[in-house]
Subunit: 702 residues, 2 copies
């Protein structure tokens, strides 16, 4: 396996001391002229070497005939040349000892076999020469803190981004530019911005990993269509989690049409969307559905306060808005818990017309005496103990007379609670919003969007506090047999891995069948055993409710007859004799091997729940017990395990143990395991455990 | 029943020729001064009579000592007086012959029994005197076209609304003000705005009905916490549908906490949320989840183009955005159908680097020759035949050099397709957005929000084209018996209404049971029959699979024994003998009586689907076959009826017929029917029909 370059090698790309622009144009509107313009306008704190064999100067800077002519070795070379000249330019970079190159041009892997061949060649040259490549077919990279703009994105035309602690990583240049623009408009400063295009060398995973390790990055926004190295992507996201850096992700291609469009847009081999979803849940990544939501959540993260619980206080000037916020909170998993009774009395004494339970509706009365409002906020935070508070103030902040006093009242009320997240739902002109933000409040126009962002922060807090997963630490187990396995063989292997099965016996004759049944106790089940017959029931290979010895012996003969009839070619090992299991809720679990991310565990309720309602959950292996419990809790039919229609609650703990064992087994066999099906599994009442009745294990190369 | 005043009596409230302000203040910042200020600033085209016994003038206008002193009879009196003076003021209005009064003050029904008593008194005075009342506890009413502002809402402080064709109806004054402000900021002109507060007389239903009948209202936005007269609300929404006026609704109180907060905010008796949901689906009302969405959809409606189908064309400058829009379209039920092959060739010839299937990704290349972009749009609309087109142009419209040419290119491309909905997803300053809008395009920043709005318009088109429902036209059937009904009685009644049951016989002795079983053919089911025993299975009152005459006779005796044992008091009519029904998918249907909206029909799949997964659908009775099919299609487990695991598809047509029959029966018994349960119902394969196996019918007063 090729060794993965250390992310430290991205330092010079993100923070170069000198930059050469190969093919630099004097025309600042051209693709090859824009980086020069941006470097000048951005006040790059290093040396700029425009390279152009035909000019003495470029946009007022001295130009050089070639890379070799430059007075120093640039850290980064911006390759603003047509495709035909790129290969030589990359050789020149290697010869000169350049550390990183950014290739803008298109026409490589994304455009067919010829382009792929060129891309492979330049990648090989760069690898061999220790040169890191960004692109091709990308919009480049920038770092506003040092004024480094290795990009030709048009979105900087009007205004340069302000420096800050947001990192942006995008496979699409256009999308990356779009969210950079929106972030700036929302007042968010950007630390590092990178678009990875075809990812011949540097990919989103490495870029995220690099940012996750930086103290000057607080939040990471990412846009992904598909990744090729799943484990590396997962490791990057795990690092971000360990370092408490929220990752706010847009992963497109959920729908069928969308996925088709995505693959025509990039040359990515994308894992299935359900697997991405699982990965994001496991690594605490927030997956945004819309761009607006992605910006909202990143904006909220920048405040740096992650609420310790999902308890939300709500203060409004309007009862209607309070109801609306309650509805939104329930939808997004926040708890609008009531104020303690004593605190309600305090609030009622302050504002006689108010509704004081939570949501607290102060009515417009509160605006008549702002000190009452301040005291109100204080009581809510103090006695209510909410970790986040949302205040709905409609257009009041935009009124000249009330805006300042309102802001002061809220600030006064919150002064002693610096660790609480205070969110305003308010309508105000940009300067008014900036003014409220400067007092430490987050500002959202729509209360629903505020609620979504708060819920996202609560999710980050939970994910960051969860135990870290040692993804790389799983030892590979001894290889599985590279052949088809019969049921009893599969069960023997999985039993060793901790999956509970019934006591079963393999019988090779009618008489042995009778003996086994007698030893296990009637009634029993008889099942044909043959590695060649994967789906036994389809040939009538299972006999249920065998009640006595004579039936057991006759059953053996009957199963043999059926096997001969339907599958005369199949080698039959005998008959498996098992006790009849009854009671409990039927579930299924399994393992599937994703081509990008490796083994993933699936769980669902039995029967129509999985087959028709598609009510299933996935998680990448391995995972721990808490994750298994979250996985179980995530299916829609969860209540069936709580005991319905007078039944006892199911042994969910035992189910979680089984899923963890399955995930550990799968993780230890990343290369030689194809599929596991445990179907059905009976989850018995609490304390009585769980048992898998059937097992199918398909190894790779079978 | 009290007769409902004709909506025409709202004319003078919405369009008065003269207005008196009782308690008018010279201080334009006070509640009693603000309406005077707004009437002056709004340039009211009628007479203004400030009434104040202590002043000669109010805000520069001549003041009058009393209503009687006013030179004319005002159409509307604004009662800006404290609660204690209101009752006399209402008497004065009646004496003077005023047509409508607006009461601002609070402290009535919403604050307890004393307030309710006052409210009831003034309502009675007004009713007797032919005076229409708005409020109390409301923010009033306005009509910008004639400069009539009977409101003290602070939201007009900065800027008055511009006149237009949007109607706003809100139970909450604060929410109504909030959305009026947002509408104005979005460039939407308002025709009529009304907040109904305690609804002592005028309620949201009447206001919606009035607006639905106006040619100068194009779209209605409404905010509702709960209504008291369900049928009237339904009739108002039906009228809006018949007149093709989109209603964009915010109904709060979905969550439990939310519903609790709603009832503390108003004195409304609110129907359950599932019933509201059913009502909105049936009447084609768009129920918004967020305020932003409510404004977005209303904004889109104002364009006046409802796409004839859900086929959506997508043009982007960025492949990533195309994928994102595809994902959003799938989520919201729009079809990003591919371009015909020949058209794809045309597009590829125009733009060699483009992706041309749909989404069409022109790449930034299209910006180099705008005439190509225009031609591109033209081909997509012409050959693709999409009824709606969304163009994603990120920040390009906001660039000085490209904005104008881009707008012209799109306008040129769309020129021949005036009936298509053209939507821009673009980032631009307000004046740029207004400029694009002036060319006939809708503008949204976020593509997801654009997609949601387009999907809403498609929904309105479908709802408006559906056959109208004759809600009021259902004749009441002869009353149901006011006593508990035994199963066979319930079945007899429902069979007459068109519900299919098995041929069953009532047997009064063991011998009759044997005869009946023999006549029906074995195997049969025996069920105890007693109006006093609602849940037969709980006492073992059902025997399945009776295979011969002897078992049938013994079964009769056994059921009698069990009935005597468990329910010695119950009068037993005998035993019902029925054939054993097998096969088909189990579903359940029923009728419940909502206290606000009357009878509603429920439908769901049998067993855990209803009990645990709550996968059910409601519709208010009556409804037609199309609505029944939509109802069946709306449950998550719908696929179970399509035939899964090798089973035949179910007879959904027969199921729809049953639901329609049930709804007609329920609608004909609005007052004397409490509940119907048909559980289980077997839906057999296509062409083989449907049969209800059990029926429970509870009449009111039982």
């Amino acid at each position: 396996m090729q060794s993965v370059p250390s992310p430290a090698s991205l330092d010079s790309l993100f923070r170069p001391r000198s930059v050469a622009i190969l093919g630099a144009s004097d025309d600042a509107t051209r693709i090859s002229g824009r980086p020069v313009r941006y470097l000048i306008e951005g006040g790059f704190k290093g040396d700029i070497y425009p390279v152009n064999p035909n000019r003495e100067t470029v946009q007022g800077l001295k130009a050089y005939k070639s890379l070799a002519d430059c007075p120093g070795v640039p850290d980064v070379a911006i390759v603003a040349l047509p495709l035909g000249l790129t290969e030589q330019a990359i050789r020149d970079c290697v010869d000169r000892g350049v550390k990183g190159a950014v290739i803008f041009s298109a026409g490589y892997a994304e455009s067919g076999d010829d382009g792929l061949a060129v891309q492979d060649r330049i990648t090989a040259i760069a690898r061999a020469g220790g040169l890191r490549l960004l692109g091709p077919n990308c919009l480049g990279i920038f770092n506003p803190r040092i004024g480094f703009f290795g990009t030709f994105t048009q979105s900087l035309d009007r205004e340069m981004p302000k420096p800050g602690e947001l990192g942006i990583v995008s496979q699409s240049g256009a999308y990356g530019s779009h969210i950079a623009y929106l972030a700036r408009r929302r007042g968010i400063g950007i630390g590092y911005w990178i678009t990875t295009g075809n990812e011949a060398d540097i990919d989103v995973s490495e870029a995220i990993e690099w940012m996750a390790g930086r103290d000057d990055v607080k939040v990471i926004m990412a846009y992904v269509e598909g990744v090729r190295n799943g484990p590396r992507f997962r490791a990057a996201l795990e690092l971000a989690r360990r370092n408490r850096k929220p990752v706010v992700m847009m992963k497109v291609g959920r729908s069928e049409t969308g996925a088709k469009a995505a693959s025509s847009h990039t040359a990515s081999l994308a894992g299935s969307d359900a697997i991405y979803d699982a990965l994001f849940r496991q690594t605490g990544v927030y997956r945004a559905t819309t761009t607006e939501e992605q910006i909202d959540v990143a904006y909220a993260c920048m405040r740096g306060i992650l609420p310790k619980s999902n308890r939300l206080g709500v203060v409004t000037l309007s009862g209607g808005a309070g109801v609306l916020i309650c509805d939104a909170a329930e939808r997004h998993g926040l708890d609008v818990a009531p104020m303690p009774a004593a605190a309600q009395e305090k609030l009622q004494a302050l504002l006689p017309f108010a509704t004081v339970v939570n949501p607290v509706d102060t009515t417009a009365q509160a605006l008549n005496d702002m000190s009452l409002l301040a005291r109100n906020m204080e009581v809510i935070l103090e006695d209510g103990g909410y970790d986040a508070l949302i205040g709905f103030f409609t257009t009041v902040p935009n009124t000249r007379t009330l805006s300042g006093p309102l802001k002061k009242a809220i600030a006064d009320g919150c002064a002693r609670f610096g660790d609480r997240l205070i969110v305003m739902s308010m309508i105000g002109d940009p300067e008014v919003v900036a003014d409220y933000e400067a007092s430490g409040f987050l500002a959202f126009e729509d209360p629903e969007r505020a609620v979504i962002a708060i819920a996202a922060l609560v999710g980050f807090a939970r994910a960051f506090d969860a135990a870290p997963v040692q993804v790389g630490a799983v030892a590979r187990a001894e290889p599985l047999p590279a052949r088809a396995l019969a049921e009893h063989e599969a069960k023997a292997i999985l039993a060793k891995a901790g999956i509970p099965f019934l006591p079963e016996r393999l019988a090779g004759s009618a008489r042995e069948t009778g003996d086994a049944a007698a030893a296990l106790g009637f009634p029993v089940v008889l099942k044909i055993v043959s590695a060649a017959i994967e789906h036994k029931t389809e040939i009538g290979g299972v006999l249920l409710g065998i009640a006595d010895r004579a039936s057991a012996e006759a059953g053996f003969d009957e199963l043999m007859r059926r096997a001969r009839l339907h599958r005369p070619d199949a080698k039959v090992d005998g008959v498996l004799v098992a006790p009849m299991a009854k009671g409990g809720v039927e579930v299924i679990a399994g393992v599937t091997r994703d081509p990008v991310f490796g083994p993933a565990v699936m769980f669902g309720l039995g029967g129509v729940h999985v087959e028709v309602l598609r009510d299933v959950a996935f998680r990448l292996a391995p995972f721990d017990r808490d994750e298994a419990l979250r996985m179980i809790g995530s299916i829609r039919g969860r209540a069936l395990l709580d005991g319905v229609r007078g039944q006892a609650a199911s042994d969910v703990d035992a189910l979680a143990d089984l899923l963890v064992a399955l995930s550990a087994f799968a993780a230890a066999h990343p290369d030689d395991l194809e599929t596991i099906d445990l179907n059905p599994i009976l989850v018995r009442p609490v304390g009585e455990g769980i048992v898998a009745l059937d097992a199918l294990l398909v190894t790779r190369g079978t």
